[in-house]
């Protein structure tokens, strides 16, 4: 019953539940469809921003079968992101809970992760969570150029200013809204 309570609490806070039935286990012994696995991984939350899934964040790049072994290709967001291992563990656990036993996780560096891979649904969820999603695309001009136009996730104002280039995690910068005066995290474009 503890799981059920946790699931209810999680859904009340808009978080993704980690309560999983063994949905991928098939009685006929056949491999489950890749679509079903993608759907399952879309319920695995990012450990730092638990409203968005690892699929929406663009970390899961590929799923393949090598005979009866599922190969999951992951790409880290930042080279030193401490959540990388936690994400790999969470994915492994989710697949295992759902009934898969032969799982291999592979790390892929190239092409490097970009915020352009965050899905539109993921961007909306970030905003609703109080984190301004990356503005525009990750072209070199954005990286080197002038400040991007960052919208306050609370009041929508464009009158915002940067407090620090680096925020609570490597992927975020710290901003302040000059209208509603609230500080907020901005998901940097890379």
């Amino acid at each position: 019953m503890q799981h059920t309570t946790a699931a209810v609490a999680a859904s009340a806070f808009g978080l993704i539940s980690s309560d999983r039935p063994r949905t991928l286990l098939r009685e006929d012994g056949q491999r489950p469809a890749l679509d079903a696995i993608w759907q399952l991984l879309d319920t695995v939350p990012d450990p730092e921003v638990p409203v968005i899934s690892v699929v929406e964040l663009g970390i899961v790049r590929q799923l393949n079968w090598q005979q009866d072994r599922l190969v999951v290709t992951l790409t880290p967001t930042y080279s030193g992101c401490p959540a990388t291992q936690a994400i790999a563990d969470a994915i492994h656990m989710a697949l295992w809970q759902a009934g898969l036993e032969q799982i291999e996780l592979q790390e892929q560096l190239s092409p490097p992760w970009t915020t352009d891979w965050i899905s539109p649904a993921g961007r909306d969820k970030l905003r609703a969570y109080g984190i301004a999603p990356p503005a525009g695309s990750a072209s070199k001009r954005t990286l080197l150029g002038e400040e991007p136009e960052v919208h306050c996730p609370h009041c929508g104002s464009v009158h915002t200013s940067v407090i620090s280039e680096f925020g609570s995690t490597a992927c975020k910068a710290l901003y302040r809204c000059d209208d509603c005066r609230e500080p907020f995290d901005y998901f940097k474009c890379i």
């Binding site: 080279s79 030193g80 190239s110 992760w113 990286l143 080197l144 620090s164 280039e165 680096f166």
Partner: protein
Amino acid sequence: MTAQLNSACRQALVDYLLHLGDSDTVMSQRLCEWVGHAPALEEEVAMANVGLDLLGQARSWLSYAAELEDQGRDADQLAFLRDEREYRNLLITEQANGNFADTMARQFFFDAWHFHLLTALCQSTDAQVQAIARKGLKEVTYHLRRSTAWIKRLGDGTAVSHQKMQDAIDDIWTYTGEMFTATSTDPLLVEAGIVPASAPLQQQWLGYVQATLQEATLTCPDENAYMQIGGRQGLHTEQLGYLLAEMQFLPRAYPGATW
């Protein structure tokens, strides 16, 4: 790609990868020393974040070095179980933090080198070097943007901040030349298109540094001044031994410790 490397080239690449990985490791360790001591919370977070990026890149370089040397060691063993004389980091990375201006001068010169080097390594003929460089460049672009902004703010700030920034630049300058010195085996890698030649890199670096310092109303020291070298041969300044003693204490005192 790695299968095509002959043994001389392979050894040269291992050496070069250690140079990159060690420089990132030591720079990261220095930056993280600021945690709990920085002048403002935002800057403390920023320095820890930059340090974290560098640590991640160090892990990639050292993992690849470990794979190529094929001695059964991994990235952690390379980082924690090698002595000072085996470290191949740039001398500039091991210099003490000093005051905030000293740290930012060191960071700016390092970031400008790192940015231009990784940009060139994105064209490397070695697929893994290219992949690590492409990933790291995105992060280093932010590092350079931040340190460049601080050079301008402090240089073109008050009389006191200007003087401190100029002193910091003059003090660390003697360690910048080493970034563009090659070892005896580097030419093998340049010829194979794995790493860029250092002369054009130096020109790009100098151009960027001179333009930034000019905008910051600071004086760029003499580019032909005497330069300290030795890091790539394992000949370090006094600073590195103390840094490694602290960094390596735990895995040396408790071999195989995990948490």
